[in-house]
């Protein structure tokens, strides 16, 4: 790891000020993506701004039709939260599949979505649930936030403060994990909103990162059942093709995981 200078921020404003002072600063929450990348020398930030101890960035609350999870809340606290389990059990389940217990004690939802790894779980939940990403500057709909491989709509220095999820009528996540890395070889999140709209998001499969599946959404909107997906053709165009699975294999997994998710959602 190259040298870096560590700062611990006590407020969102202080974090933004410290970031602006660094020549090539990065925010640090749990560090479970950033630190491994720094160890490989694929990133060498001049300054690390630790936001994990900022009280305004940790916590979970449900009010009316919305569940809000603050950005630096560790995965473990989300997966075991009675509030999350009651509001959106599919989200608690998805988070319980990230990494392993020790990783979930440190990793955060804000860190995951800021990184936008194409095989991460959280982006699928945000996109399927039509979540809103709150930052220190604005609110961004999930559909506008994820911009492709490791790319988001965040400006330099912009800090995610929370994610707000509209509470759906039904939702479920089905994941086919890579057995060694535990990342999603393909994961599918299905959601039916309280107004009857259907959104389906897929992670781990596309070369462009998390994506929606309009054909599966249309089939499920007409008939919310696993068999409704039988007749849908999923193209392997633009899907990842590597030693872990061919694009055709992933195309099939999208269908199978979508069916399993619908069955789980009931």
């Amino acid at each position: 790891m190259h040298e870096t200078t560590y700062h611990r921020a006590s407020s969102v404003d202080e974090a933004a000020t410290l970031y602006a002072k660094g020549s090539e600063a990065r925010y640090l929450a749990g560090g479970h993506t950033l630190l491994p990348v720094m160890k490989q020398r694929l990133a060498s930030p001049s300054d690390l701004i630790d936001i994990a101890k900022i009280k305004d960035l940790v916590g979970i609350e449900a009010t009316g039709d919305t569940l809000t999870i603050k950005a630096a809340t560790p995965y473990f606290d989300i997966a075991t939260s009675a509030t999350v389990k009651s509001a959106i059990p599919a989200l608690a389940y998805l988070i319980s599949l990230v990494g392993d217990p020790a990783v979930r004690h440190r990793g955060t939802i804000g860190g995951s979505i800021a990184n936008n790894d194409p095989a991460a779980d959280s982006p699928a939940a945000l996109l399927a649930l039509d979540a809103t990403v709150k930052t220190n500057k604005r609110s961004i709909k999930a559909g506008d936030f994820f911009k492709g491989l490791f790319t988001t709509a965040l400006d330099d220095g912009e800090l995610i403060t929370a994610v707000s999820f509209p509470i759906p009528a039904k939702a479920a996540y089905a994941k086919f994990p890579h057995p060694a890395s535990r990342f999603a070889l393909t994961g599918v999140f299905v959601a039916k909103t309280k107004t009857g709209d259907v959104r389906v998001a897929v992670t781990g499969a596309s070369q462009g990162g998390v994506m929606r599946m309009p054909a599966i959404e249309a089939a499920l909107k007409a008939n919310w059942s696993a068999s409704a997906i039988d007749g849908v053709t999923v193209s392997d165009q633009g899907l990842m093709d590597d030693l872990h699975g061919t694009s055709a294999y992933r195309a099939n997994l999208i269908k199978v995981m979508a069916q399993r998710a619908v069955t789980a959602a009931g």
Partner: protein, 161 residues
Amino acid sequence: MSTVKLTINGKAVTAEVEDRTLLVHLLRDQLGLTGTHVGCDTSQCGACVVHIDGRAVKSCTTLAVQASGATVTTIEGIAKGDELHPMQAAFRDNHGLQCGYCTPGMIMSAIDIVHRYGGNLDEDTVRAELEGNICRCTGYHNIVKSVLDAAGRMKVAAAAE
């Protein structure tokens, strides 16, 4: 360089570290606590697991400066003098180790699991919860047996206190 202040195994520790120093290197290289191991150095194998403020964490993926102010427990801090921690005793009695390299991390993760689940542990849960700890010798069979055995012993020990 930064000054970090931690409580490690019950003792107040102050150390000067480079900001990029990993917690595991502070423990091993500066403080001589070499029971915590570095296996893969990529947050996968779990040989480096310690407890920070009571939670099992991979110390190879945590900066020492991030842990400043925290309470850290390592494998050296769990026995009471000559009396092994019930998890250590269970690993010995059930032959839960062969080469021993993964064992400190296994034990620290296993104690965390028992703390979280209490007596409600079964084999499937232990296997799932040990996902982040890799052992190349044992095939996990006796490790799982050790954890289940220790869960019972820890319950008895907690009731006695």
